[in-house]
Point group: C2
Chain length 214, copies 2
DNA sequence: TGTACATCAGTGAACGCGCGTTCACTGATGTAC
DNA sequence: TGTACATCAGTGAACGCGCGTTCACTGATGTAC
């Protein structure tokens, strides 16, 4: 730690320009792609530009990723990890089994979409190829599992109860739709004046308390 | 009608290959782009390939459209027209003011997404440029208006009532989310076993009957 | 501790490709007289 | 009805561009002895 030039990759935040061996190219490429996707939308990025942003030649990425789709998959995978953690953190901030915990999971979801609309779109737009990767499917199920867990706790039923599954899916779809509409027309058509939390609490309550098979 | 060669464009379904003046190039280009978008996703099309499919040179489209984004806007505009008509038709098949009419609007929406997932994504993914066009925004409001009208009739309140607006938005977001999830993982993660109509009736009931500001 | 060497992670030049768009052109069409 | 002409809707060749990917290469790194 006394000699910076001998250990350039020990400062992950700072781009170690001088280093020949980059230290953390994969992560920096993924970060660059994330930025580009936010700027130009899903598929609005190129391997070449990502490499440029990471300060390497356009051939360098191919030392770490097989091809363009594999880079995209990396971005999606990393994003899904962050999304799941955010949802779990949201739930943990409220009493276990409370309606607020359910709504908080939804809020984490909406917040993610608002903060990174491009990445959010990327995660949920196939854009050929990446939708079949088994690890991504597993991560998707992991995210859904957070919703199921919160709903199950609220309903005081086991997570594999069919009714829990149905209602968790309904909750997910509502929050998903709200997220998309929010980032699509950022308050143009407007959400009819309801703020996120009001929306989420109302939806959670309606979906979890209404007798579905009436 | 007795002489086909003198009136080639009177048969819109059949491609009038021999005609020098194409007759209906704009519509055929839009149809070609629609097909390409279904095949390769939003932005997975090119002006060149659309022209090829329409059987004209790659310069021909520019006689009718200023540039690529304008073609895209044409596709979106046409799709939104069809979506609105489908929603209205759905509602009209059920008693005015019934919950079924509301659910039928939703079903038309989901059916559209299922039938044309690529176009559906295109309509709701900005992909730069087309989101600001005032005519498209107006058509978007037109579609939302169908939901509002059905909800208002069901709630027996005027369409401009704030509560009607809120609930119409909630309905929309739920159906929107269900549509996206449906086309994203076509029954991979599954919708927890509920079919469209059950989902739509349940959501309509829950959202329209639950006292929001409890 | 020093040296030899395999491996790793870059470079930069090059490839072929398809794209968006423009251009001067030309054949077909519709209209005025 | 016939002719002259403006306009319309195409053609096809060409442009410059940036991309994905490959290639032979080279400097840095880590390890075995």
């Amino acid at each position: 730690m006394s000699d910076q030039t001998r250990d350039p990759q020990s400062h992950p935040g700072v781009p170690p320009k001088a280093a020949y061996h980059h230290g953390d190219l994969p992560a920096q490429l993924i970060a660059a792609v994330r930025d580009l996707v936010e700027l130009h939308g899903p598929d609005g990025f190129s391997v070449a530009e990502a490499a440029r942003r990471a300060g390497v030649s356009s051939a360098a990425p191919y030392k770490h990723f097989k091809d363009r789709p594999e880079i995209l998959r990396g971005v999606v995978s990393e994003a899904m990890d962050r999304l799941r953690v955010a949802m779990q953190t949201g739930a943990a901030a409220h009493p276990h089994g409370s309606l607020e915990a359910v709504a908080a999971v939804g809020r984490a979801y909406v917040d993610f979409a608002r903060a990174e609309p491009g990445v959010f779109r990327l995660v949920f737009g196939l854009t050929e190829g990446h939708q079949n990767a088994p690890d991504l499917l597993a991560k998707g199920e992991g995210c859904f599992g957070v919703v199921v867990a919160a709903a199950a706790a609220c309903m005081r039923l086991p997570p594999d109860d069919p009714d829990v599954q149905s209602r968790a899916y309904m909750l997910w779809s509502c929050v998903h739709g709200h997220s998309f509409l929010t980032i699509d027309m950022k308050h143009k058509v407007a959400s009819a004046g309801i703020d996120d939390w009001t929306y989420l609490m109302a939806i959670s309550h309606a979906v979890l308390e209404y007798p579905l098979r009436a």
